[in-house]
C-alpha cells in the first residue's frame, strides 16, 4: 500500500467537509480530499457513505455544512475549468433527440446549433452513437443512454469530469467496454476524472489513485496508488490485477470496520 506522490497541482481541494441533512443524517464528517490536475481518481466506499454527496458538493450542486471547497482559481476557476457531471442514472431529456441532449450544455452556453453541430457529432462518434443522433432516449438500451450521458458531459471539453457510479446499472460486458472507452478518453483528452464507485474491480481497473471511504458518516480511510506495470488488453486477467484488487478489497473491509467515533 503506497500513497501516490502529489506530483501535480490540486485542481480542487475539500478540507474538513461535513454535511448534515435536514433530517439529521450526517452524510459526511470531516472529509479531506484533493484532486490533482489530470489524474484519474476513484472514490470507493460502501453504499450510503456519502460519495454522491461529496461529488455534488465538489460540483457546487450542494453546500457543505462544514468545511471548505477550494477550486484552483476560486469559484470563477471552477466555472473556467468547466465541469462535466455524469449522474448515476442517464438523466436524459426524454423529449429531445440524442443529438439535442448532447447539444444541451453548448446551447445553455449560448452556442448556436450551426456552430455546435460538428462538436456534437464528433462527440457522438467518440462514444459510438453517430447512427443514433436522431433517436429518442426511449429507443436506446441502458448502455447506450449512459453513453449519451457521457457524450453530453464531454461535449464542452471539460477539464474535469465528475462521474457518479455511471456504470453501476449496466451488465458486465457493456461495463467493461465503457471502462476501456473511458480509459482511452482520459488518455487522449487529459481530463481530470473523479469516478465514484462501490466496485473494487472497477476502481482498480480504471484509476491511478483510489480513495477509500469509511461507512457513513463518510471520511477518507486511506488512499491507494494503482500503478501497474502495464494496462494492456491482458490487465483485467493478470495476476497483478488480482493482487491489486485483493489489496483494495482488504482496505475496503478495514474501512468498513473502522467505526471511528465521529
Amino acid at each position: 500500500m503506497s500513497v501516490s506522490p502529489a506530483s501535480q497541482e490540486p485542481i480542487v481541494t475539500l478540507r474538513g467537509v461535513g454535511k448534515t441533512f435536514g433530517s439529521g443524517t450526517v452524510a459526511l464528517d470531516h472529509l479531506d480530499l484533493s484532486v490533482k490536475g489530470g489524474e484519474f481518481l476513484a472514490v470507493l466506499g460502501p453504499s450510503g457513505c456519502g460519495k454522491s454527496t461529496a461529488l455534488r458538493i465538489m460540483a457546487g450542486l450542494a453546500e457543505p455544512s462544514r468545511g471548505t471547497v477550494a477550486w484552483a482559481g476560486g469559484d470563477d476557476g471552477r466555472r473556467a475549468h468547466g465541469i462535466g457531471f455524469v449522474f448515476q442514472e442517464p438523466t436524459l431529456m426524454p423529449w429531445a433527440t440524442v443529438a439535442a441532449n448532447v447539444y444541451l450544455p453548448l446551447k445553455l452556453a449560448g452556442t448556436g446549433w450551426d456552430a455546435a453541430a460538428p462538436r456534437v457529432s464528433e462527440t457522438l462518434a467518440r462514444v459510438g452513437l453517430s447512427e443514433f443522433a436522431n433517436a429518442y432516449p426511449r429507443e436506446l438500451s441502458g448502455g447506450m443512454k449512459m453513453r449519451v450521458s457521457i457524450a453530453r458531459a464531454l461535449v464542452t471539453a471539460p477539464r474535469v469530469l465528475l462521474m457518479d457510479e455511471p456504470f453501476a446499472a449496466l451488465d458486465e460486458i457493456t461495463r467493461f467496454k465503457l471502462n476501456d472507452d473511458l480509459r482511452t478518453l482520459w488518455r487522449e483528452l487529459g481530463t481530470t476524472i473523479v469516478f465514484v464507485t462501490h466496485s473494487v474491480f472497477e476502481s482498480v481497473y480504471l484509476a491511478e489513485r483510489i480513495v477509500v471511504m469509511t461507512q457513513r458518516p463518510g471520511r477518507v480511510f486511506t488512499e491507494l496508488a494503482i500503478d501497474p506495470a502495464g494496462r494492456d488488453a491482458g490487465f483485467r486477467t493478470s495476476a497483478e490485477y488480482a493482487s491489486l484488487c485483493r489489496m483494495t478489497s482488504d482496505a475496503l473491509s478495514q474501512a468498513m470496520n473502522a467505526r471511528t467515533a465521529a
Partner: protein, 260 residues
C-alpha cells in the same frame, strides 16, 4: 379481429342494442312522442330542424372554444406564475380551489346578474375548465427530474431557460392531460350557463334550445339537441386525445406504441 376493431365494434354493438330496445319499448307501449319519442322520430327531427339546431350548436361551440382557449391560457399561465413565485402560489391557490369546488350551477345565475349573457356563459365555461389545466400543469412543473435540474444549474442556465427548456417540456404530458379534461368541461360549463340563462328567457345556444324545447313540450327536438351535444362532446374529446398523442408520440410512454 384486431384489438382496434374490437374497440370500435363493441361500443357500437351496445349502441345498436340500446337504440333497438328504445325503439321496441316506444312501439310496444305506443308511447306518444311528447312523452318518449322513438329513435326514428328523433333522427327526422334532427334533420328537419337542422338549420335551427346547427345555428344553436355553432353558438354553443363558439362559447365552448373561447372558454377552452381562456382556460388553457389561464391554467398554464397561472401554473407558470405559481411555479415562479411561491408567494403568489400560496396566496392564490386556495382561491383556485374554492372556485373549483363551488358548483358552477350555483355560480351561473349570479354571474348572469352582473355580466352580459355572453360574458357570463364564457365565464362559466372558463371556471369549470381552467382548474384541471392549472392543477395538472402545476404538478407537471414540479415533477422535473432533480438531476436534470441540477444539470441545468451546473451549466448556469437562467430561470427563464430552465422554465422554457426544462420545466415546460417536462410538464407537457400532464399539461395535455389537463387540457384534454378541460375540453369536455368547457362544454359542460357553457351548457350549464346557457340553461341558467335560458331560465331568464334569452339565449341562442344549443342548451338554451333544449331548455326552450322542454318548456314548449317539443320533446323530439330536446332529444335531437341532446344527441348533438353528446356527439359534440365526444368529438372534442377525440380531437384533443389525437392532438395530445401527436404532440407526445415521439417520446412519451403514454403515446408511443411500443414495439415488442
Amino acid at each position: 379481429m384486431s384489438e382496434r376493431a374490437i374497440r370500435i365494434a363493441l361500443p357500437l354493438a351496445v349502441l345498436a342494442l340500446g337504440v333497438l330496445a328504445w325503439d321496441v319499448v316506444v312501439r310496444i307501449n305506443e308511447m306518444p312522442p311528447y312523452i318518449l319519442p322513438g329513435p326514428e322520430l328523433v333522427l327526422t327531427t334532427l334533420i328537419d330542424d337542422w338549420p335551427v339546431l346547427w345555428r344553436s350548436l355553432l353558438a354553443t361551440l363558439t362559447t365552448t372554444l373561447e372558454g377552452f382557449a381562456l382556460a388553457m391560457a389561464g391554467g398554464v399561465g397561472l401554473a407558470v406564475l405559481f411555479n415562479q413565485s411561491r408567494w403568489i402560489e400560496l396566496s392564490l391557490y386556495p382561491y383556485a380551489i374554492i372556485l373549483q369546488v363551488t358548483p358552477v350551477v350555483a355560480i351561473a345565475p349570479l354571474l348572469l346578474i352582473y355580466l352580459s349573457q355572453e360574458a357570463a356563459v364564457l365565464a362559466c365555461a372558463w371556471i369549470v375548465a381552467f382548474f384541471p389545466v392549472l392543477a395538472n400543469t402545476t404538478l407537471g412543473l414540479k415533477s422535473v427530474d432533480h438531476n436534470l435540474t441540477d444539470l441545468f444549474r451546473l451549466y448556469g442556465a437562467s430561470r427563464a431557460r430552465v422554465l422554457w427548456e426544462l420545466k415546460l417540456p417536462a410538464a407537457l404530458p400532464s399539461m395535455l392531460a389537463g387540457i384534454r379534461i378541460a375540453g369536455g368541461l368547457s362544454l359542460v360549463g357553457a351548457v350549464v350557463a346557457e340553461i341558467a340563462a335560458g331560465a331568464s328567457g334569452a339565449g341562442s345556444g344549443l342548451a338554451y334550445r333544449i331548455a326552450e324545447s322542454g318548456y314548449r313540450l317539443m320533446i323530439p327536438r330536446m332529444f335531437a339537441g341532446l344527441l348533438l351535444l353528446s356527439v359534440t362532446g365526444i368529438a372534442i374529446f377525440f380531437l384533443l386525445s389525437w392532438l395530445s398523442d401527436l404532440a407526445l408520440r415521439r417520446w412519451h410512454e403514454s403515446a408511443v406504441t411500443r414495439e415488442t
